[in-house]
């Protein structure tokens, strides 16, 4: 397989599927800091040349709120804004590319906040952000002879 991805970190709730032992060992410590939740997620190793980091964020029912993702020093990572979701409907899992310079020493210092207009930002509950996975991917290179199936 060309894939190097692996589960590197587990957020503040148990994943839907049973986590691997390595994922459990890497479980991140999270803390609520005022209007956000902060945690540090570990990559299995520092990014190597040609690798990219991705964060998979599994989101429950947030109705019409949004979830802002950033590093703890303020670099944006993306804002999850479910489209066309009905009230009570889980929003799904979002695929967030993580810039290499948002990582430090193979770690992502993540801050997540729920944003609803007219209200102060707040930390997401464990029902709202159900799990996080930080992955490394190396996308496959072209085959040497260029043969398509």
């Amino acid at each position: 397989m060309f894939v190097l991805s692996s589960i590197a970190a587990l957020a503040f709730v148990v994943l839907q599927a049973a986590p691997s032992p390595s994922a459990t060992a890497a479980a991140a410590q999270s803390q609520q800091t005022g209007g956000a939740r902060e945690m540090t997620l570990d990559l299995p190793h520092k990014l190597r040349k040609g690798e990219t980091a991705w964060l998979l964020v599994k989101v429950g029912a947030i109705d019409h709120a949004e979830i802002q993702l950033m590093t703890q020093d303020g670099h944006p990572l993306g804002t999850i804004s479910p489209y066309g979701a009905r009230t009570g409907q889980a929003a799904g899992t979002y695929t967030v590319p993580v810039p290499a310079d948002a990582l430090a020493d193979g770690r992502l210092a993540l801050r997540m906040a729920v944003m609803e207009s007219g209200q102060a930002q707040r930390a997401p509950t464990t029902d709202e952000v159900r799990s996080l996975r930080l992955l490394i991917r190396r996308f496959r290179k072209p085959p040497p002879s260029g043969a398509n199936p």
């Binding site: 894939v3 991805s5 839907q16 800091t33 005022g34 209007g35 956000a36 990219t52 991705w54 998979l56 599994k58 989101v59 109705d63 019409h64 949004e66 802002q68 020093d73 303020g74 670099h75 944006p76 993306g78 804002t79 999850i80 804004s81 479910p82 489209y83 066309g84 979701a85 009905r86 009230t87 409907q89 889980a90 929003a91 799904g92 899992t93 979002y94 695929t95 967030v96 590319p97 810039p99 310079d101 906040a113 944003m115 609803e116 207009s117 007219g118 209200q119 102060a120 930002q121 992955l135 991917r137 996308f139 496959r140 290179k141 072209p142 085959p143 260029g146 043969a147 398509n148 199936p149």
Partner: protein
């Protein structure tokens, strides 16, 4: 995991068909070898602006058609509400069919036989194009008012005709609607009004109301056309480039795919198990939502673009033209790399045979049963795209791009609240020449506004003359806008500064030192970066660093 078939692009046909083997192509794609008849232009180009004139004519014609006519403007939007896929792997292909038939309709009703839907490249222009505030190109226009003045007016106008249409649907269509949760006409209409019986007592949930009154049909205005900083990041070069990176059409194991999840039907609503691809989940979703005011406006009702009646807002089709363009870019990138660009052999039949049953063609006829496979190629509608952001991915890497990737971040020297960053002339030239990969970005840090701060929105200026303290989005010195939401300062423990990433302008005026006195490219170019309040004023920048993507 994936496989390949033919496409419409001429340069691809010269190279890749020989590789894939023309004999292996499905029959329905044989005409893919015909050169594109129509070109979809960037809306900011002269051709794109001309297309908007025809688009407006077509919209007026559709508004005038009776609600029983399949080409009626609102009836056309209901096709989306009743059938659109989101959060699954039919997202791109279904919308290709929907936009393609709509394009035919505008061509016919505008009388412009050359019409092709322009695209809005929000990565290059993170604001609604100014022309899209003219006349019927905005749903706030008075010509919409006879229909969307209020929910009663809209109901009496469209509901009887829609009910007649519903009553004439065949069993296969009803089955698909049931999968969406539309088990009756009333169940569907509840998404228009926001009516819900749960929790009791029955009530209207404004957050679920797809209908939008004329004045609130679009949140963004000509005076306030910009996407928010959060959305601007979601459409940024980094995000879009990252969304184009995956090399699998669909990868069920590792989930980082070009497409969202495989589901049992395109009508399966998103749920907790759906994985949104980067491009659908971020640029697509948040642009939709912000245009309608989801975010800035608490609790609804929001404008059209926030929900599945979004095609009522004409910007919908420019937004989806751009999404479709990105699919085309990704496909051609895969072809250039000789990588597969469709689902794998086991998945492909499942993907290809999904029936789409609600389209209306350019002649106003129901298309009837057609299938996902019919819309895989742009050849179905005989168009291609004027190159836009991301196109550089299709081309082989050049030495310039390689050099750019190797660029060391350049930290600005601060003098007052302005940073002077020294870049190599070569890096700047590459930045100006390329459309995506080689883009230069500034990481700018500024203090978060306090509750007492009068300014919450700031513009990033690059190499603007020192007396220029206020610019429009069309200024050559304008790099982007940063805005703060009111609640941010209440966040305990948050740094007093915030850092944002902003692409540098693509205009030579923003790099005045690029040309040396002898007319040659300067070895180094010093550029000054400032961050000023959007209403004008002194710079508040604390630090800036420029780096390549």
């Amino acid at each position: 995991m994936s496989q390949s078939v033919g496409t419409t692009r001429r340069h691809f046909l010269k190279t890749s068909l020989a590789v894939a083997g023309a004999a292996a192509l499905p029959r329905h794609l044989a005409f893919a070898q015909v050169p594109a008849k129509y070109r979809r232009y960037n809306v900011t180009s002269p051709q794109g602006q001309k297309a908007l004139d025809s688009y407006a004519k077509g919209i007026r014609a559709m508004l005038k058609l009776p609600p029983d006519h399949p080409h009626n403007w609102f009836r056309n939007a209901f096709v989306h509400l009743m059938d659109c896929p989101h959060g699954n792997w039919w997202f791109y292909v279904w919308h290709r069919g929907y936009v393609g038939y709509f394009e035919q309709t505008i061509r016919n009703l505008s009388g412009d036989p050359t019409f092709a839907m322009p695209y809005w490249d929000w990565t290059q222009l993170p604001q609604i194009p100014d022309s899209m505030f003219n006349g019927v190109l905005t749903p706030n226009d008075s010509e919409f008012e006879p229909f969307t003045k209020d929910i009663e007016t809209f109901t009496s106008y469209i509901q009887p005709a829609l009910k007649r249409y519903w009553d004439g649907l065949n069993a296969a269509q009803i089955t698909q609607l049931n999968r969406r949760g539309y088990t009756s006409f009333d169940a569907m209409w509840n998404d228009v009004t926001g009516y819900t019986a749960t929790p009791p007592p029955p009530h209207i949930n404004l957050e679920n109301m797809a209908f939008a009154q004329t004045p609130g049909a679009r949140y963004l205005t000509r005076a306030n056309p910009k996407l928010s900083p959060d959305v601007t990041y979601n459409v940024s070069p980094f995000m879009v480039y990252s969304g184009l990176l995956p090399t699998d059409f669909y990868d069920p194991i590792n989930q980082i795919s070009f497409n969202s999840s495989k589901t049992t039907s395109h009508n399966t609503p998103p749920s907790g198990s759906n994985v949104f691809s980067t491009l659908e989940g971020f640029p697509h979703n948040s642009t939709h939502n912000y245009i309608g005011g989801y975010g800035p406006i608490p609790k609804g009702p929001w404008g059209n673009m926030t929900n599945n009646l979004s095609p009522v807002d004409p910007i919908f089709f420019l937004h989806h033209s751009n999404m479709d363009r990105l699919w085309d870019v990704w496909t051609r990138k895969q072809q250039a790399l000789k990588l597969p660009y469709l689902p794998g052999k086991e998945d492909f039949p499942i993907y290809a045979k999904e029936p789409f049953l609600f389209y209306v063609n350019g002649d106003g006829k129901q298309v009837g049963a057609s299938y996902a496979r019919d819309y895989i190629s742009t050849a179905r509608f005989e168009y291609d795209y004027e190159p836009g952001f991301g196109e550089a991915l299709v081309k082989p890497p050049s030495a310039a791009l390689t050099a750019h990737h190797a660029m060391t971040p350049a930290k600005g020297l601060m003098k007052g609240n302005a940073a002077t960053v020294t870049l190599s002339g070569h890096e700047v030239t590459s930045h100006l020449a390329s459309e995506s990969l080689a883009s230069l970005f500034a990481l700018v840090t500024l203090p978060r506004p306090t509750d007492a701060s009068p300014d919450r929105q700031f513009d990033v200026l690059v190499d603007a003359p020192s007396d220029v303290n206020e610019v429009g989005a069309d200024s050559p010195y304008y790099a982007g806008t940063i805005a703060f939401f009111g609640g941010m300062m209440r966040m305990h423990g948050m740094s007093s500064d915030a850092t944002f990433i902003v692409p540098l302008p693509k205009r030579k005026e923003a790099f005045q030192g690029l040309t040396a006195a002898n007319g040659e490219e300067a070895k180094t170019v010093a550029v000054t970066i400032r961050v000023v309040p959007s209403g004008g004023g002194a710079s508040v920048l604390k630090s800036a660093t420029v780096r390549a993507l």
